[in-house]
């Protein structure tokens, strides 16, 4: 009877396990396997090179590590600026303000737009020769014409500009999750705090923040995973890697696949990148467990 029950349980999970294995585990193993070969993506023959591709990534490929650094920089800005903005707006919309439903819709528009569209629109807004040059005109109007320059083709500002546009595009997700989290906090806690004489700031610090920590960690994990893989926005904003200044891991992988026809190496890059993302997620998960 016990064996039958056990088998029944396995039968129930079998479809999910099969789908997971076919679409995740097996492709991962294949990609790892391809990472051990030198292959142009066209021929039927592949040359086994062992861990040579991985060795090249770790010891020789400076462009790869520069791209990792660039993606980390964008992620850092997203983790701080984007998420703080999302949290503050969610907090504002959680309160009894006029037209809060309207704001909720407005804030959620950027995430549903295509990255290509967002990139092209912002390129038009920012660029001074093939765009409307709105930012520079605004700076000039505010009496700061010396700050006006080509934000996207200046190596000192290109990556930050990309990061800020990415934040604009992405903050709506965080906003939505934070808002859902804020709405789960029992209102009685705030009322009790108010009766006890707590100020709005004290309520925020002692009730809202502690109860929102798990949500914050979830948003942080999603932000890291989403931002590290950004590339479409970069292509539509600056046309590509811009002498390495806006290079990110996915663009490097694509360059290996399409530009150099090094599919094996691209697979090794993909595996390395995947491991880095899993490691980051694991650290964040451990951190959240510890907090809980």
């Amino acid at each position: 009877m016990k064996i039958r029950q056990g088998l029944e349980n396995y039968v129930f999970v079998l479809p999910a396990v099969t789908i997971f294995a076919v679409f995740y585990v097996i492709p991962f193993i294949w990609v790892f396997q391809l990472g051990l070969f030198e292959w142009d993506g066209i021929s039927f023959t592949r040359t086994f090179v062992g861990l040579q591709n991985f060795k090249e990534i770790f010891l020789q490929d400076r462009s790869w590590w520069q791209s990792m650094w660039n993606a980390s920089y964008i992620t850092l800005i997203a983790l701080t600026f984007q998420n703080i903005l999302a949290f503050m707006l969610a907090w504002a919309c959680d309160r009894e303000i006029k037209m809060k439903n309207f704001y909720r819709v407005i804030f959620f528009i950027p995430p549903v737009l295509s990255e290509v569209v967002v990139g092209m629109v912002w390129r038009f807004i920012i660029n001074d020769i093939d765009g409307a040059n709105i930012i520079n005109h605004t700076l000039a109007g505010l009496g700061m014409p010396n700050l006006a320059h080509n934000w996207l083709s200046d190596p000192n500002t290109a990556l930050t500009t990309v990061a800020l546009v990415h934040c604009w595009k992405g903050f709506g997700w965080g906003f939505l999750i934070f808002l859902a989290g804020l709405q789960t906090i029992p209102r009685e806690l705030y009322e009790a705090a108010r009766v006890d004489g707590a100020s709005a700031w004290q309520s925020f610090r002692k009730i809202t923040i502690p109860l929102m920590v798990p949500i914050m960690i979830l948003v942080a994990i999603l932000t890291v995973l989403g931002t590290m893989q950004v590339f479409v926005l970069i292509v539509s904003l600056v046309g590509g890697e811009f002498a390495g200044h806006t290079s990110v891991p996915v663009l490097r992988i694509l360059a290996s696949m399409r530009g150099s026809s090094r599919f094996g190496y691209a697979c090794a890059q993909g595996i390395t990148f995947g491991i880095v993302l899993v490691a980051i997620s694991f650290i964040q998960y451990r951190f959240s467990k510890k907090n809980q």
């Binding site: 020789q60 040059n133 520079n136 046309g239 811009f242 002498a243 360059a255």
Partner: protein, 442 residues
């Protein structure tokens, strides 16, 4: 009972019909995959014409953009699902990989039949791109493996109206590099190039240098002009280093262009579509673009007054070279059961009348040399550039892709002032040596 019998009868009827012999159409359908959005209506019209003539249906399937098409072709090659006819986007080494994998039919016998009647229709340089010579370094048996549909040259174009505004003679574009730099100074003074003011005014040279390969193209043009073809090929073979003074001079030209103001602001992040819009909207004096631009500019601004010119010479030691040859080519799938019909269709497609029709409809240069008579003057200017045309795909040797990447990114760095020409030369050579060592180790 009645319902049951009716259902059974229907089932029996479908079963019998299902088992009947399939009607086999004696005329095959030829499937062609391509990425050329602008040429698709003309291809469809020609396919109808061919069907009316022969009864053979030709199904042109468009997959755009070109990046997506390129991936589709590779995936189809892996799955052995390639259509009867297809094009390859990529370098010669990719072309060679397709041939090695047995995907492409050697069409030399068809080309050379009847004393080379088909082969002789084409511009030799257009055919050369699809040809593997006996001494090629790819290990491919010599032969012709593709059919050029049109040709292209990549040159500079200049806006005649803006030339007049700058006080220049629109009938005499710059011939020397110094003349180009002098115009750069005038553009800056007019208010808006790289070293100019903050205002967005008249721009100098625009091009899709954010997509890097066009930088490679212009740099190679100047390398041929400064050191000659033999030295360029010797560099690719690893016999001459990139730190050679001639290569440093090539890199320095980009710095000079930037310093003089001849390059448009933000050129290193410019995609070619933006560059085309700027030139078509008369905001840029020069553009570096391929002959396909004639059709693009016509669509954007039919009244644009412009002329084509070779990049101004930086040296009188060797002639200027530009990239040119087959613009797009079609290959026949060696595994297709319709390969004979596919070859016949391509032969018909490259006949004088069809090529003239394509040139007229799409403003691309025809691959058939007898179809040039009806093309507009601006296209004829591009066609005259064929005398100076060369292409990496006809050199017989390929540079390592990582070296090309370092080379192109290095030039971007020079333009934005990140690195000096000497620094870039050193970095490119370092990667070259690493790749050569890897090759020797194999």
């Amino acid at each position: 009972m009645l319902i049951r019998n009716t259902v059974l009868c229907i089932f029996a009827l479908f079963s019998v019909l299902g088992c009947s012999e399939q009607k086999i159409d004696s005329k095959p359908t030829i499937t062609v995959w391509h990425w050329m959005t602008d040429r698709d209506p003309a291809f469809q019209a020609l396919a109808k014409k061919y069907e009316a003539l022969t009864g053979i249906r030709v199904n042109f399937e468009l997959y755009a953009p070109s990046d997506a098409y390129s991936q589709k072709i590779r995936a189809a090659a892996q799955g052995i699902n390639l259509p009867d006819v297809f094009g390859i986007l990529g370098e010669k080494r990719d072309f060679a990989s397709f041939i090695k994998a047995g995907h492409i039919l050697d069409i030399t016998p068809y080309m050379e039949a009847d004393n080379g009647a088909w082969k002789n229709k084409f511009f030799p340089k257009a055919l050369a791109v699809n040809e593997f010579s006996p001494d090629n370094s790819y290990g491919i048996n010599p032969g012709i493996f593709g059919v050029p549909i049109d040709i292209m040259t990549i040159q500079m174009v200049y806006n005649k109206k803006l030339f007049k505004e700058l006080g220049l003679n629109p009938g005499r574009p710059p011939k020397t590099f110094q003349e180009l730099l002098d115009i750069g100074a005038k553009i800056s003074a007019a208010g808006g190039s790289a070293s100019g003011g903050k205002s967005a005014g008249m721009q100098g040279l625009v091009s899709g240098w954010g997509e890097v390969w066009m930088i490679d193209c212009l740099a190679n043009n100047y390398a041929f002009n400064i050191m000659g073809k033999d030295k360029v090929l010797a560099t690719i073979k690893g016999e001459v280093p990139y730190t050679d003074p001639d290569w440093v001079k090539v890199f320095s030209l980009f710095k000079q262009m930037q310093d003089s103001g001849v390059l448009a602001k933000g050129i290193v992040t410019m995609i070619n579509k933006s560059a085309e819009q700027l030139f078509a909207n008369e905001k840029a004096v020069f553009a570096f673009n391929g002959s396909w631009c004639v059709n693009v500019y016509k669509g954007m601004n039919a009244n644009l007054e412009y002329g084509a010119m070779l990049p101004p010479e930086a040296s009188d030691k060797y002639p200027m070279a530009i990239w040119g040859g087959a613009g797009s080519s079609f290959m026949v799938n060696a595994r297709s059961k319709n390969k004979e019909e596919a070859v016949k269709f391509l032969s018909w497609l490259t006949d004088q009348d069809q090529q003239a029709y394509l040139a007229q409809e799409t403003n691309n240069l025809p691959a058939n040399k007898n179809s040039l008579s009806k093309i507009p003057e601006i296209l004829a200017q591009f066609a005259r550039g064929m005398d100076y045309a060369t292409h990496p795909n006809v050199w017989g040797v390929s540079e390592f892709s990582l070296v090309i990447e370092a080379f192109d990114r290095g030039i971007q760095s020079i333009i934005i002032g990140d690195k000096s020409p000497e620094q870039v030369a050193g970095e490119v050579q370092k990667i070259k040596e690493r790749e050569l060592a890897k090759k020797r180790a194999k």
